[in-house]
Amino acid sequence: MQPILADGNGGALFWELLVNGLVMGSLFALIALGYSLVYGIIELVNFAHGDLFMLGAAMTYTLTALAVSWFGTVTPGGMSFAIVLGLLLIVPFFCGGANILIDRAVYRPLRRAPRLVPLVSALGVSFVLVNIGQLWIGTSPLSLENKAQLVSDDSLIQMGEVPLKWKDAVVLITVVPVMVGLTWLVKFTRLGKAMRATAQNLVAAQLMGIGVERVIASTFFVGGYLAGLAAVVYTLKIGRIEYQMGFQNGLYAFTAAVVGGIGNIPGAVLGGLLLGFIYSFGGGYSQGNWVDALIFGVLIVLLIFRPTGLLGSRSREKV
């Protein structure tokens, strides 16, 4: 992962890490929601989700390169704003659509199979997607900033000594409304109601006349959509993509979903933010590459004391 900091004095460093943690946390939360939604509805850990995120980033890169070849050099300003908007419109639909296709082709025939079967299929899908990414963008990291500077490096506002950079602001400006929108979708729409019903009891929902397969497909779409969105803002913030980025970020996000209580939407957001802060502060204050070990250490300790996650409810085991 990229180094987060320049050296600074202690106080400013703390605030910088805090902002970075918030930004990374909201990214993790977006991806985590995809895991959590799907798990909530069909109890499948969709291991391929992180790699879908990676394909979204590849799509972002390809589209940007395409735009640059059409319009010539792009600098921050009106044109780049239009391109960013375009990316935010197209890439999530691409990822959402791909997720529906994957569900239709791979997971749907396995709905009645034992738990292990779709899980292993998901691992297989993950491998396939990584390979597609590898053939698509090659094995070496690509820098988006070499193609076009879509978001300026300047600060949006200066809070004391700490700047809030445009790159961070873009993430927050995108993520917050989406979270609100998702809450609205799940709580107040017919589809959301159908999703909640299906999650609670699939068979009963079916008997009540809910088109369960349609609801599952919509859930996959929403999950993929969020992953695509995350991919765009991630690529804008970090500026570098590679075909293996899906594994690492997917793993963090999945951990976030579990920490928050998998299947639980506020839990995924909480877990994502928590993980973002651990990631940011761990990377900022520790020497070397200990962030991974720190994150999974926290995960293991948490699962020992609260096996259902922070906000997860305890479900009795049925015979």
Partner: protein, 344 residues
């Protein structure tokens, strides 16, 4: 006398093939002999994972970490940097038991977790192990690895020191050593499956609650499975260190992909059938390491000079993935499924 079962025949045929294989003119066919030895080592690793995944039904996604730990312990014990400098026999046994101990330590806290959570924790544990192996450079060599592992094979023999490969570490000898160990592990695990412990493990896999109700202790059984599987993986890691004469870079050799590739091999062959597991490894790894090279060479020669899309090695993850998906869809019990006494 009962006629031998299908899987016993399949296992026997495979072992016969493996005994004859080094006698064939491999070099003429363009097959590097080293890869055959690696095939055997991976078979041992897969048998280890099979105890956890196949027999006991715990989805373990970090077996490569134990492989790495075994490799590292052997490296530490046999390198000339540290004062231990033991022979291989001792190093191998310490590696196997040490790794089993680590498996036990990991297992204890996660026993309460069910399927998916256990999968995540084992996966996370794998990542932690890679970090630890990389960062404690003074002990494990980190990225530079521990080089030049040339211990003598047995106690009281001084051979192969002074920075030179001993005879026993060269191709046909080491191959047969690995084959012998593979046979011992294979038969040993067969005995395990028929023992009281093994039947307990199967009971936990089939229905943990029922097993508990029948007076078995599922926690203790799962812990035993994790420790045994880890120990066998550690043994494989130890052989891997001897095969390479160094401890390879942890982030390449012991990463998550390896855990999944081994998993794919087990699933291809047939969960919990030992002969199936061996066939799975031989087919998948044989394809990946040997057949794909040969096909690649002929493809490149025939049609597509330098065209990367026509290079099979660029498609290997896709092939593993499609094997997993296809097997799950059409034959979830593998090519050589375990034969059960009664149907469920």
């Amino acid at each position: 006398m009962t006629p031998p079962s299908r899987s016993a025949i399949a296992g026997g045929v495979l072992f016969a093939m493996l005994v004859v294989l080094p006698q064939l003119p491999l070099a003429e066919w363009g097959i590097p002999a080293n890869l055959l030895t690696e095939l055997l080592i991976l078979s041992i690793l897969a048998l280890g994972l099979n105890v956890i995944l196949g027999t006991t039904g715990l989805l373990h996604l970090g077996i490569a970490a134990f492989y790495g730990i075994g490799c590292c312990i052997t490296g530490i014990l046999t390198t000339s940097i540290f004062p231990f400098q033991t022979n291989f026999l001792v190093a191998m046994m310490v590696s196997a038991f040490g790794t089993a101990l680590v498996g036990l330590i990991l297992g204890a806290p996660v026993l309460r977790l069910r399927g998916d959570y256990l999968a995540l924790v084992t996966l996370g544990f794998g990542q932690i192990v890679i970090t630890v192996l990389l960062e404690f450079e003074n002990i494990t060599g980190g990225k530079k690895t521990l080089q030049g592992l040339f211990p003598p094979l047995l106690p009281f023999v001084s051979e192969g020191t002074m920075g030179r490969r001993g005879d026993w570490q060269t191709f046909p000898h080491f191959y047969y050593l690995c084959l012998g160990l593979l046979a011992i592990v294979y038969l040993g695990l067969g005995n395990l499956e028929r023992s009281r412990l093994g039947r307990g493990l199967v009971a936990v896999r089939e229905d943990e609650l029922a097993a508990g109700a029948m007076g078995l202790n599922p926690a203790r059984l799962k812990l035993s499975a994790l420790a045994i599987g880890a120990g066998v993986a550690g043994l494989a890691g130890s052989l891997f260190a001897m095969h390479n004469t160094n401890t390879t870079e942890p982030q390449n050799s012991f990463n998550f992909n390896w855990s999944i590739i081994i998993l794919a091999a087990i699933i291809l062959g047939g969960l919990s059938s030992r002969a199936g597991v061996l066939w799975g490894v031989v087919l998948l790894m044989g394809f990946d390491k040997i057949a794909s090279r040969i096909i690649d060479d002929s493809l490149q020669a025939a049609a597509a000079d330098g065209n990367t899309a026509f290079r099979l090695s660029n498609w290997r993850l896709m092939i593993f993935g499609l094997v997993l998906i296809g097997m799950m869809r059409f034959r979830p019990n593998g090519l050589l499924p375990e034969r059960r006494g009664t149907s469920k």
